[in-house]
Amino acid sequence: MAEASYPEDLLYHPEHDWARIDAADPAVATLGITWYAQDSLGEVVFFDLPAVGASVSKDASYAEVESVKAVSDVIAPLSGEIVEVNEALADDLQKINEDPYGEGWLVKVRIADPAEREQLMDARAYAATLGG
């Protein structure tokens, strides 16, 4: 994805992470990193998939993504338990760069505290933090 984009249907964390509340089951959210995060990092060369069943805490790191010259903590926008990881990334990390909001998703979590959603930003507010 060459151009910056921040879909309207996502919730954003200031550390450049997004959450998508599952339409069918609002207790589950899909998490990933934003276009800005992958662009700053450069081509992702390593992502160590976390374990299903692990718990994540809002504002805390639950994984790392690496490019050749940088490492970035992946921050959980919401607390919860990991119920699925994107196994397809094991073979094709480029999806994180090419399609950060689609095939480049990282994990799905069962949300522990739905109220935490209120603390996240919408696309417009997040884009504003990037200074245009």
Partner: protein
Amino acid sequence: MSAIDENHLHADPGIDGHHPHHPATAAAAGPMQRERARTIFQKGSPGRRAFVCPPLDVPMPDAEELLPKRFRREQPPRLPEVSEPEIVRHYVGISKRNFDLDSGFYPLGSCTMKHNPRLHERAAALPGHARLHPLQDPERAQGALELMFNLQGALAEISGLPHVSLQPSAGSHGELAGVLLTRAYHEDRGETRHKVLTPDTAHGTNPATVTMAGLEVVKLATNPDGGIDLDDLRAKADSDVACLMLTNPNTLGLFDPNIEEIAAIVHGVGATLYYDGANLNAVMGLSRPGDMGFDIVHFNLHKSFTQPHGGGGPGSGPIAVSERIAPFLPRPVVARDGDGSFALDFDREPGSKSIGRLRGFHGNYGCFVRSYAYICSLGADGLKDASEVAVLNANYLLARLREKGVAEHLPLAYGELCMHEFVLSGGPMKRALKIKTLDLAKRLLDFGFHPPTVYFPLLVDEALMIEPTETETKETLDAFADAIAQILAEAAADPEIALGAPYSTPVRRLDEVAAAKRPVIRQALD
């Protein structure tokens, strides 16, 4: 560099005669470029060899008695099978694919790439040094111990700190010793302190070391002049701070004018002050860390004291400390006995406070020989001259790079004058000329120069950190400044040239992403 290119490095930036980013460059490659890099494991032939084993001159007992079969290796390691001429050709051949300090200017910031006198190699190779066993009885190694004692004394005088351990193997190892010493000092006083303050300009080794020593890093901000932000320091200096780790001059090449106040604040909360000696080459004989208030210093003998870098080691990282830290020094240290002889002091008495060993034996003695020879050659006057000329050279090169045509693209990040090195920002260049610091660095390779350190320190956008050292001539500095100006002018006309550089090197830009994604870190064998 290939042999063909060597004679033309300065004159020929490698793209004459054809368009730079045109595939035609491959056809212009020299023989070393054309040969695909084959490893020693891909050469030779079964049964071929260099080594001739001395004869078996003792009775051959039963194999099982010598070594039971279950302990024996079943298949020999698949080492190369090559003759001596093949080994020589191979390694001499690949050596020519290296750039080196003896061939050209190497202004790597923070690395102090000064000339390595060949005298040092000759002295270190004397059998009395080179074939001396580290467990030789001290009374039969008096020359070595005297050399170490004298080196300890010289480093103490240069740093202004009286007690020295030569043991650490490198700067990073010296840092680890320093933080462990700080920890031991506080623990001995019954205090548990968790935090170590490091400026955001610090070398990466500083925070890594702090974690290995079981403490926690707290970052300090840099003020607009490039020094420590005193307000931030005051806010963070409390009774949980074990130490402040500082490089002075810092990684921006600036001497912190508030150093006395910084020391007072740090000592005021009972913490120690640690000096990263990476930049000592700026101040030898001019200013001493001990006099600035530092408690612990590490030296990089491979920087200020000209141990050759060897393509990435060996180094040596002795430390000097103040009286209050001395009881905790790693052992052994070399002491002089009443009769004038030299001994290894292990301090094995009960109640010893030493943090213990950091490695085997006494440290990198071979490096001590070279650095001691250097100190003897230069003497008190010469060491001061070395620092003065290092600073003069840096300021002269900085002045040349502040001329029109360069300064608007590569402004000085902080300050006016500098010490032994300085940091430019390639931010304006990136915006105006559409080339990054990395591209400038790669294009410099075609001009026969090793590029400066790039992308460090982290707080400078597109940083370019330049340290010329005292052993370079004005002509070399001018040629380098001219090359920078030429590359910028060239980029203004056509940024593609720099973006595609280098062209004249044994290989061109390498795919680091592929190397990291699917690591191949050894030769596959049949």
